[in-house]
């Protein structure tokens, strides 16, 4: 079965295959897990939980450092 689910990534709606993990999502976005920090539904997700599978309606924020004062 290759059902799709809809999630929100950094404020943008995105369709992904069901059972996609955070690790897999990062990989499809060409992002290195060690260069980002992640929030799922407004809660910090630690690296050990990146195998968590995303669910329909999840809101994920992928952040990094930018210049600031």
């Amino acid at each position: 079965m290759s059902a799709e689910i809809q999630i929100t990534v950094n404020g943008e709606s995105r369709n992904i295959p069901a059972n996609t993990s955070i690790t897999a999502l990062l990989s499809t976005m060409n992002l290195k897990p060690e260069k980002v920090a992640i929030e799922l539904n407004r809660r910090l997700v630690r690296t050990a939980q990146y195998e968590t599978e995303l669910k329909q309606g999840d809101k994920i924020e992928i952040v990094t450092f930018v210049g600031g004062g």
Partner: protein
């Protein structure tokens, strides 16, 4: 310069420099180098979803050299400041940077003035201390607000010289010196860092002469015509101000005091 401590963080250079608003990363690198800073501030933002160049700030900061101080810029509520702090700490833990565990807390009131919201700052300080953070709290130059933030558990208080990026320098030296006095009462080593508003090198000296333990700035260097040259100037101004503070300035007097003696003069003196 002598080392001071913010909780377990040993600070060898008292100039804290921001990484925002440089024309490009190469100029930022040169300016940071010229400033001789140890601590650099960064902001936490969304990873850009489409980024052809793929240039990331992390690739341009020598993480073995600099201690990264993540800020909560852009936060207007205590809750958001805690979220951003947790993300910043996680990201720094991944980099194995000593900055994992401290945060420059900003809880602002509105986008136009960027003035700190004292109530939100106090709430966020309490929460972050519970989460184990070493909190460096940005605040206005109000001495009583500064004391409340210290009481909430901040490891350092950072009163503003003037609004962020305004380049107006230390607008109220009296308030800044009262912040020093009240925050350091029976606690001489409590760190106070003047943050925001620096426009030029003399502003840094003034802050240090008032007894600040350090100065945090960004725009004053990043938007100078020659950021690298200004970074040099800021570095020397900080050292001059610190030395001057430690040396102890003379009191201001209403009238002149001659440096050459009047004893033995052979010349005409008015009124004598």
């Amino acid at each position: 310069m002598e080392t001071f401590h913010i909780k377990n963080f040993a600070i060898r250079n008292r100039l804290f420099v921001g990484t925002g608003k440089y024309a490009n990363y190469e100029i930022m690198q040169q300016a940071l180098d010229a400033s001789a800073c140890q601590v650099v501030t960064v902001a936490v933002r969304r990873e850009r979803l489409i980024d052809a160049a793929g240039r990331s700030l992390l690739d341009y900061l020598d993480l073995n050299r600099y201690t990264i101080l993540p800020n909560t810029a852009g936060c207007f509520t205590a809750e958001d400041a805690v979220r951003i702090s947790l993300l910043g700490r996680d990201l720094l833990e991944k980099q194995k940077n000593p900055g994992a565990g401290w945060v420059k807390l900003e809880v602002l009131g509105d986008k136009k003035t960027l003035l700190p919201d004292p109530v939100g700052t106090i709430e966020a300080t309490r929460e972050l201390v519970k989460e184990g953070f070493t909190v460096l709290a940005y605040t206005s130059d109000d001495p009583r607000a500064a004391v409340r933030i210290k009481e909430a558990g901040a490891a350092a208080v950072m009163p503003a010289g003037s609004p962020i990026g305004s380049g107006q320098g230390v607008l109220n030296p009296l308030n800044i010196s009262l912040c020093m006095e009240l925050l350091k009462e029976n606690d001489a080593n409590f760190p106070v860092i003047v943050d925001a508003g620096v426009g030029t090198a003399s502003d840094v000296s003034i802050a240090m002469e008032l007894g600040a333990d350090g100065v945090l700035l960004n725009t004053g260097i990043a938007h100078a015509k020659d950021p690298v040259k200004m970074a040099h100037a800021m570095r020397h101004a900080l050292e001059a101000g610190r030395l001057s503070y430690k040396a102890g300035r003379i009191p201001r007097k209403r009238y002149a005091t001659a440096s050459s003696p009047f004893t033995g003069v052979i010349t005409y003196i008015p009124g004598e």
